[in-house]
């Protein structure tokens, strides 16, 4: 596969975080330290080499950075202080922008202003729509204030209306995510002419289902012991996030009720657990990134922070909304509901297809493709490659 050397590749990658590319002298320490390295995957040294040599096509079809769990073993022992783990993180950000065929995520990664502006514009649109489609507070407020003085939330913002908006948004997001993953498959599997993948091969990786679903399993092999806490909290955060996402998009009629149920009602319990998951996760990641006490929290791109900040405000407004509703403060409930939507929608629309959030969907697929690729290569290879010395 002949390729044109792209000398600007390194400079392009500066925008995605790591800047120490020239530090690397290709000693192979990172590959040897890395627990994801197996014969055939010379990672991360080989990936860094592709960047250094400007092999853009090889880099774009490279799946190895997705195997990285950012345990930081390589960065800690790198003799050149080149931060290979952060390099892999930057390449993952780059790959997210490569898989996004619309090109929007590239713009967001490159410009902080653009990202912030889009978030603000989206918020304003949501606000306007909210004001139009809900009962306007200056109107007949008696309709949505209950007998006990609290807000009748389904009168104020009927779940049917919100659901409609949810589904429109979810539809768009699903379309973007699916097309992006299709593009990813095209780049990694289809475009690689040396791979001959039959239909039946696509089913084979499912025998290793646990590894595919939870990439965090691999953390157990790293030298860094703090990572156990890290991945437990990371998984808790992801699960809570997923639960709330599913409830809001598909079961809003069950979750958003006018009657306030007793404390031990499943609706409230589930909500509380997920809220704790989000809160603890946000606090943990915030402290980690501020104290920079772990390799994977030392360097944060601004897109990482945007996601965390939006998630924080979503959680905060969600909690406030709940408090105001229970304690019967109708006007505040109304405003908080609006604010909640104003941060929730940009968080989903901006982050899911175009930014940090999307690693949640790309990573399992990348692991799936990696296993697929490995199985196909192993099948086609009859004589294993033997290294020759001297």
């Amino acid at each position: 596969m002949s390729q044109r050397v792209n000398l600007d590749l390194k400079k392009e990658l500066f925008l995605y975080g790591a800047k120490e590319w020239n530090q690397c002298f290709q000693c192979g320490n990172c590959t040897a330290t890395c627990h994801t390295t197996e014969n055939g995957f010379f990672f991360p040294r080989k990936t860094v080499r592709q960047v250094l040599m400007g092999l853009k096509k090889s880099l774009q079809t490279n799946i190895d950075p997705w195997l990285c769990t950012y345990c930081g073993d390589c960065s800690r022992t790198c003799p050149r202080d080149a931060n290979p783990a952060e390099m892999m993180m930057s390449i993952r950000r780059y790959l997210i922008s490569v898989y996004d065929w619309t090109g929007i995520s590239k713009l967001f990664y490159k410009s902080k202003t653009l990202e912030v502006t889009s978030i603000i514009v989206l918020s304003i649109i949501v606000m306007v729509l909210y004001l139009i489609y809900t009962t306007f507070p200056s109107g007949d407020s008696s309709q949505w204030i209950g007998p006990d003085g609290g807000a009748l939330i389904n009168k104020m913002a009927p779940w049917q209306t919100i659901h409609l908006g949810d589904w429109l948004m979810a539809g768009a997001l699903v379309f973007l995510v699916i097309t992006n993953i299709f593009y990813m498959w095209y780049k990694i599997i289809y475009d690689d002419k040396s791979l001959k993948v039959g239909f039946i091969d696509y089913l084979k990786p499912f025998s290793k289902l646990v590894k595919l679903i939870n990439p965090d399993v691999k953390y157990a092999k790293c030298d860094e012991k703090k990572l156990t806490t890290y991945w437990v909290l990371h998984a808790f955060l992801a699960l809570s996030y997923g639960t709330l996402f599913a409830i809001i998009v598909f079961f809003l009629d069950w979750f958003q009720t006018d009657t306030v149920y007793p404390f031990l009602h499943p609706q409230r319990i589930l909500g509380y657990i997920a809220t704790i998951g989000l809160t603890v996760g946000i606090i943990y990641f915030y402290t980690n990134r501020t104290l920079k006490n772990m390799e994977n929290s030392k360097y944060s791109h601004f897109t990482d922070w945007t996601f965390l900040i939006l998630l924080f405000f979503t959680t905060l407004t969600g909690i406030l909304l709940h408090v105001f509703r229970i304690y019967g403060l109708p006007q505040l409930t109304y405003v908080t509901y609006m604010l909640h939507l104003m941060v929730l929608v940009p968080m989903l629309v901006i982050e899911v297809p175009f930014s940090k959030w999307s690693h949640m969907i790309y990573r399992p697929f990348a692991l799936y493709f990696a296993h697929l690729k490995k199985m196909v290569i192993e099948k086609s290879k009859t004589i294993p490659h033997q290294p020759q010395y001297n």
């Binding site: 002298f25 290709q26 000693c27 192979g28 320490n29 990172c30 590959t31 040897a32 330290t33 390295t37 197996e38 014969n39 010379f42 040294r45 022992t77 790198c78 003799p79 050149r80 202080d81 490659h385 033997q386 290294p387 020759q388 010395y389 001297n390």
Partner: protein
């Protein structure tokens, strides 16, 4: 100011953000106040890729001459030469002011760097502006350090019938070279080269050898130093000891031998090694029970020479007058236990290169047989000369502590070559064994070195490109995990022994000695020379020369050459009878004034 060319000073900020280096903002402040300077340019003001834009700036600021100042000004010379020609002036008007070239390297040299800029602004060579007056010189010389460099320098000076005081910290001269088995690339026996020189030093009538001594204090000026030397108590008379060894035989205290890299034990009454110069026994006061508690004294009872052992001897201070000083204090090896991943100190058969050097040597712990450490009855891991288990495979890992941002950033220069030499010696003694060298880059520079490297490859040593990440121990086996970059494979190699090729570091007391001498060290701790390229043996103090590894990592031939060069500098001043005062006696104002006067004289002549 008619007739004087308008001058701009450009600062290349290669030292930006590094607090150890020269304080550039302070120099910029100073430069702006100089009379002839019209403008000061920083790297941010200049597009260093476009001579056209620079020439436009030259015309805009109405500049006729440019001074480039900084760590590496030569890098920008071609840019400014092109730009100044485009602006219509002569390229001769681009002047370099290199800080390192004139010995300004670290923060404390900031004042010195100012003087370098002042001379360049006045277009006067720094050497001309800093000529100092000559004063008479004392013909005696002090050499600090008794390794190969110190020995060589002493012999060179003593050969011209001038008195040399050779001060050595340990009980014998010889230094690290005495510990080596063979030298590269000729594979000569190191002792065969060194021992005759050591004996010559010991017997030379013009060399006063002071072993087990340290330089306590240095006062005076070049040509007339008064040096106080602390002669530590050997507790055995140098004149009376006959070297019979009865004291060591009976001494009950055992301690690891420094000479054998702590692979064997010696007694508290000991001789560092059989060929030591002076070949006399001594007491190690740090472990001797008599020194600690006043009990024992067996050695004094068994000694056949009456009055030889005086266990109550005290340290004494000797004062000598010298005109010149040669510093050759050498190096220490990197502490391999800083690398936790390689398990040095935890795994018994992970050795440093210096330990292997002793193991290979015929006078080493196993009498020259290559053996693994085994457990004795008490459970200690020892090299046993009786039970020899030869390793079937050995891994040699390069660059331990060198070329590493977390440890020493510099290349230690000798490790590649000595690792290849060790591989050869292992292959010679164990022809059936498998020897693997793991390297990042092989640096086989110099005469006969590349040929030596090729020869080792032909001998069947596996040379593998890739830095191992870790060494693990399972049972008796060590496993080295590494990426073989050229062979495109991951390796998990089972070996019986791992050798860590440790790098060189400045001696532990290098900064201390530099402080006493009033010379500077660089950020790594190596002594600063006056001019790295043109004058690598002199320091800013004209009576003090440096030689050997204390100036920077180097191999034995280079050390010997530098020692001879330092000696020739000393002999130059002795034979002339005079020495220039230290340039450090000049202040920045004096140098600035002098360069102005000189440039005025030159302008009048033109």
């Amino acid at each position: 100011m008619e007739g004087i060319k308008t001058t701009a000073v450009f600062f290349s900020n290669s030292s930006r953000g590094d607090s150890d280096l020269i304080d550039i903002p302070e120099i910029i402040n100073y430069t702006e106040k100089l009379i002839k300077v019209n403008s000061v340019w920083l790297q941010d003001d200049i597009n260093i890729y476009s001579p056209e834009l620079v020439s436009r700036k030259i015309r805009k600021d109405n500049i006729q001459r440019i001074v480039i100042a900084g760590q590496n000004p030569g890098m920008y010379k071609s840019l400014f030469a092109k730009a100044i020609v485009l602006a219509g002036f002569s390229p001769d008007d681009v002047i370099l002011a290199s800080f390192p070239e004139h010995g300004a390297l670290i923060k404390s040299d900031t004042e010195w760097a100012k003087a370098i800029v002042a001379c360049a602004v006045n277009n006067i060579p720094f050497e001309n502006a800093t000529l100092t007056e000559e004063i008479s010189v004392n013909p005696n010389t002090l050499v600090i350090g008794g390794g190969i460099a110190g020995i060589q320098a002493s012999l060179e000076i003593a050969a011209s019938k001038n008195k040399v005081y050779l001060v050595e910290k340990s009980g014998t001269i010889g230094g690290h070279m005495a510990m080596f088995d063979k030298t590269f690339p000729t594979l000569d026996c190191a002792a065969c080269i060194l021992t005759p020189k050591m004996v010559e030093v010991g017997q030379h009538q013009y060399i006063e050898l002071m072993t087990y001594s340290e330089v306590k204090e240095i006062r005076g000026i070049p040509g007339d130093y008064k040096v106080k030397i602390l002669k530590k108590a050997r507790r055995m008379s140098l004149s009376k000891c006959i070297g019979c060894g009865v004291c060591a035989e009976k001494c009950p205290v055992k301690t690891p031998s420094e000479f054998d890299s702590k692979t064997t034990l010696r007694k508290a009454a000991y001789i560092p090694f059989p060929q030591a110069v002076p070949n006399k026994y001594m007491i190690d006061e740090s472990v001797c029970t008599y020194v600690a508690s006043g009990k024992c004294g067996i050695c004094a009872k068994v000694c056949p020479v009456p009055g030889c052992i005086n266990l109550d001897e005290k340290d004494e201070i000797v004062e000598v007058n010298v005109g010149n000083i040669i510093v050759a204090i050498g190096f220490k090896t990197f502490d391999a236990s800083k690398f936790e991943q390689f398990g040095y100190g935890r795994f018994p058969n992970v050795l440093t290169s210096l330990e292997l050097e002793r193991l290979i040597n015929a006078s080493g712990p196993t009498g020259g047989k290559i053996a693994r450490r085994i457990q004795d009855k008490k459970g200690n891991w020892i090299f046993s000369p009786e039970e020899v288990y030869s390793p079937k495979s050995v891994a040699i890992i390069h660059c331990i502590g060198s070329r590493d941002e977390n440890h020493n950033k510099y290349c230690s220069k000798v490790c590649c070559m000595y690792s290849l030499k060790l591989a050869h010696l292992l292959k010679e003694k164990l022809p059936d064994s498998e020897i693997n060298e793991y390297y990042i880059d092989i640096r086989a520079y110099g005469k006969g070195y590349e040929e030596f490297y090729n020869r080792i490859k032909e001998e069947g040593v596996n040379i593998i490109r890739g830095r191992p990440a870790k060494v693990e121990m399972y049972g008796n086996e060590l496993i080295v995990r590494c990426e073989d970059i050229e062979g495109a494979a991951m390796i998990e190699q089972k070996v019986d022994m791992v050798i860590l090729a440790v790098g060189t570091e400045p001696a532990a007391d290098a900064r201390d000695i530099a402080g006493k001498l009033g010379i500077s060290v660089d950020r790594d701790g190596w002594f600063n020379e006056l001019n790295y390229i043109g004058d690598p043996v002199s320091t800013l103090s004209s009576g003090i020369m440096i030689a050997g590894v204390c100036q920077g990592p180097k191999d034995i031939p280079d050390s010997v050459a530098q020692a001879s060069a330092a000696a020739s500098r000393v002999l130059q001043s002795i034979s002339k009878g005079t020495i220039r005062k230290s340039v450090k006696t000049l202040s920045v104002e004096q140098i600035e004034k002098r360069s102005q006067e000189l440039s005025k004289i030159l302008e009048e002549k033109l």
